[in-house]
């Protein structure tokens, strides 16, 4: 996801179209890069969903998610994550409006939402472990832990980038405003994708 974070900065040489769009493709490097990365992520989660479908349809018994998993907590987490999607895009919009303070505020809120999501996830996990429900218990729990675990790692990765963006915001915004705004946009695209995966994980694991 930090294809963008590594877009050529601090280099002796200048890489074209790091900041502004190339006229014939209409995008700047980081944006094409993040979309390609997301394409590969689609295939990664595609393989995992494929696994889930295959295991579930061929299992003689498969528990309903709502029998075992904590729906209220997961619903709350859904709201948290959707909310963070809104805050990150508001951060971007405010940066484009030239309002750094508000932009930073919304970036901070996004980071907090990510943290909240992870805390709730940890509560869920520890409850499961305390009931002696582990990945090895059965294939339901195996897919549950692997899918939500990998998703959680993505949330964590996003949080690291947001923290980095927040810490460097003043310097970057002063020196390379457009590039910083692009970075927030690109990180936002990644973050929305993480949200989108959750939108499918939630019904598939919890509600069916």
């Amino acid at each position: 996801m930090d294809a963008h974070a590594h877009a050529a900065h601090a280099h002796e040489i200048e890489i074209p179209y790091t900041v502004h769009a190339r006229p014939d493709t209409g995008v700047y490097n980081g944006k094409l890069g993040i979309w390609l990365f997301l394409a590969s992520e689609v295939m990664l989660f595609g393989a995992l969903f494929s696994t889930l479908v295959l295991l579930r349809t061929s299992a003689p018994v498969w528990p309903h998610g709502w029998e075992i998993l904590n729906i209220p907590l997961a619903t709350l987490n859904t709201f948290v994550l959707i909310g963070s999607s809104v805050t990150v895009i508001l951060a971007w919009a405010n940066l484009r409006l030239g309002n750094l303070a508000k932009g930073k505020l919304f970036l901070g809120l996004t980071l907090l939402c990510g943290l909240g999501f992870m805390v709730i996830k940890t509560i869920e996990y520890t409850t499961k472990f305390s009931h002696h429900q582990y990945p090895s218990t059965n294939n339901f729990f195996a897919t549950y832990f692997v899918l939500t675990g990998l998703h959680g790692l993505h949330v964590l990765g996003g949080m690291v980038v947001f923290a980095y963006l927040l810490l460097t915001a003043n310097k970057w915004y002063a020196e390379k405003r457009d590039q910083f705004t692009n970075r927030v946009e690109v990180t936002g695209l990644y973050w929305h994708f993480v949200d989108l995966v959750w939108i499918f994980l939630f019904p598939v694991l919890y509600l069916l």
Partner: protein, 633 residues
């Protein structure tokens, strides 16, 4: 017979060119000094270890992947010794090197043979050929060939290499793990791989490193090719090599993630006791497994081959790209059917995603799904044939320069042809049932990858060596290397078809000695093994030539091959430091304008050279009548 480059004798042009060369040389020297000064400013580590310059990263990839190629080759030699003379002890120092644990009394243990088999495949595919074809050639050549100052994300590029190297070293370190290296084959089929020794866990972690490295690299290549093309370099003016790299990158981008997912699942099966790939009721060595069960071992095969079939085209496409460059340059005429080549390449890439289950005919998938995958497999042979045909027709009527790269390119054509054609019977379920898991399969894909891809890699090394070093490799020793390699590599792989048709299985520790049906073809084992040892000997001139020429080779000008593409026409040899070009090149025409009628200055017309005596375009943008007449002359 007039001298070949007679067209150049127009004296006025000759003088103009001399002047141009002198100027170019002066710039090069001046720039080299500047770069030297720059070097003092940059620390050694930033310049040579954690470099972000695509050229240096390309060289890092070249050296590393060639080393892994040699390591993978050595593993195969150990196996070939065992296959030719089963149960014979290895000669002294080799036996000592293998140690008592792997080869007590110098005789290789079956367990160790399995480790070598799995590691030979892994090292060759993931650590040698792909990094060489994509990481090395792609990194070094693509930005230069599209007139870009570097890759789009230089730091990401550095990270790709620094994920690849630890991933590779981790793989090799697995030999030291308890129970040795992974031993479930390079395909790591469960349930065997899930219950295998610790080495398999290291394999999975190593794979996650390598996959991440490939993913980052492929994103970088695609963005670079889309975004950083020089002014005027439209897609239909891209050299075929760049097209091949672009298609390859898309394959890596979309096919690798499912294997990454599968690797995570297998890791969970091994470490966390899940049962993604473990069916219920497995009994191992008389004991029932404690896994929850309910998993599906075939799921691994699907996810694995969803990657590994596109991977086959990842192995071959960059090779085809190199061959196209070398052929156009040495036939001194445009490639035949450039558009068909591009179209076929793209179609090949697309189709490679829908043929994977032809590796699984023996799993009892059912007739409908087998029929589907047989059909797609037959369809995918068409673009391969188009590419090969276009390259062969390109030779027609040419006055070929038999340079060393061209020799390898010419050998590639029939070798890849054999590899491809022997694949057809494997793509049809009826014949695959007989041939599956025999030496025929080994022969088939090694013809594609060894005398196919590896010869293309050699062609590329001899071709771009002067670009990277400013010096040329020795022609005579290059030819010795070529002819010896060609003879012995066929000695290694051709008899495999005979063995396979006789029904000899692959992965046999004794080469089939204990099977009655293998007896008539058993003697070929000795022939193949001796050929393999001689093949090793044939690489000695290459290795010596490579390092000797780096420091002592003949100095050559910037465009030693009189080539048209940007890396030769607009960059010095070796190219300037980070940034590549003094002035960003501008492209005026397609990549293979050789022997252009009416262009009398030379028999090649570089992409970056403005047109001859082209009157400034007037209002309507039409060519003048004189220019049209000249072109048609």
């Amino acid at each position: 017979m007039p001298p070949k480059r007679q067209v150049r004798v127009g004296n006025q042009w000759m003088r103009a060119r001399d002047a141009q060369r002198a100027l170019e040389e002066a710039i090069r020297v001046a720039k080299a000094e500047e770069v030297d000064h720059g070097a003092h400013r940059q620390s050694f580590i930033r310049q040579y270890v954690f470099s972000t310059d695509h050229k240096w990263i390309g060289i890092q990839y070249t050296i590393t992947s060639l080393t892994f190629l040699l390591i993978g080759f050595s593993m195969m030699l150990l196996m070939r010794y065992q296959l030719a003379w089963p149960g014979q002890p290895f000669p002294g120092w080799i036996a000592k090197f293998l140690g008592q644990a792997n080869a007590p009394g110098g005789v290789m243990l079956p367990e160790f043979y399995n480790q070598l088999g799995a590691m030979h495949g892994t090292v060759m595919v993931f650590l040698a050929i792909v990094p060489l074809a994509v990481g090395a050639f792609g990194n070094y050549v693509v930005p230069l060939q599209i007139g870009a100052p570097d890759m789009a994300f230089p730091k990401l590029n550095m990270m790709s290499y620094w994920l690849y190297l630890p991933g590779g070293l981790l793989m090799l370190l697995s030999f030291l793990a308890p129970g040795g290296a992974p031993n479930s084959g390079w395909t790591s089929y469960p349930p065997l791989s899930v219950i295998a020794t610790q080495g398999q866990t290291i394999w999975i972690i190593g794979m996650i490193f390598l996959i991440t490295s490939s993913l980052l690299g492929s994103i970088n290549f695609i963005v670079t090719i889309f975004q950083l093309r020089a002014k005027g370099l439209s897609f239909m003016r891209l050299p075929f090599f760049v097209w091949a790299q672009l298609i390859t990158s898309f394959l890596l981008l979309l096919a690798f993630p499912p294997l990454e997912a599968a690797a995570v699942l297998q890791l969970m099966d091994r470490v966390a006791g899940t049962s993604f790939f473990m069916p219920s009721g497995l009994v191992i060595s008389g004991e029932k497994l404690t896994n929850a069960g309910g998993g599906n071992p075939l799921l691994w095969q699907h996810l694995f081959w969803f990657l590994a079939h596109p991977e086959v085209y990842v192995l071959i496409l960059p090779g085809m790209g190199i061959i196209a460059e070398v052929i156009a340059n040495n036939t001194r005429k445009p490639l035949w059917g450039y558009k068909s080549l591009v179209g076929a390449g793209a179609f090949l890439g697309f189709m490679s995603f829908v043929v994977w289950a032809h590796h699984m005919f023996m799993t009892g998938m059912g007739t409908a799904i087998s029929a589907f995958f047989q059909t797609t497999t037959m369809i995918i042979s068409i673009p391969s044939v188009i590419i090969l045909t276009a390259l062969i027709i390109s030779l027609w009527g040419a006055s070929i320069r038999f340079t060393v790269p061209m020799l390898f390119a010419l050998a590639f054509l029939p070798m890849f042809g054999i590899g491809g054609l022997t694949g057809l019977p494997l793509g049809l379920a009826a014949s695959d049932i007989h041939l599956h898991d025999t030496y025929y399969v080994i022969g088939h894909f090694h013809y594609v990858v060894a005398p196919g891809t590896i010869f293309a890699m050699f062609a590329g090394i001899y071709y771009w060596f002067p670009k990277a070093t400013g010096r040329q490799m020795n022609e005579f020793w290059g030819k010795v290397h070529f002819w010896a390699s060609l003879v012995f590599i066929n000695g290694v792989f051709a008899p495999m078809f005979i063995q396979g048709l006789a029904g000899v299985s692959r992965r046999l520790y004794d080469g089939g000695a204990q099977y009655a049906h293998a007896q008539p073809v058993l003697h070929t084992n000795v022939f193949m093994s001796i050929s393999a040892f001689l093949l090793l000997a044939a690489q000695v001139p290459f290795i010596v030539n490579f390092f000797y020429s780096m420091f002592k080779g003949r100095r050559v000008g910037s465009n030693v091959w009189d080539a048209t593409t940007i890396e030769w026409a607009a960059a010095t040899s070796p190219p300037l430091g980070h940034g590549n070009f003094e002035v960003m090149p501008v492209v005026y025409r397609g990549p293979y304008e050789y022997s252009v009628p009416g262009h009398t200055a030379s028999d090649f017309f570089p992409q970056t050279e403005p047109d001859d005596a082209q009157p400034a375009p007037t209002g309507g943008g039409m060519l003048t009548a004189a220019a049209v007449a000249q072109r048609e002359a």
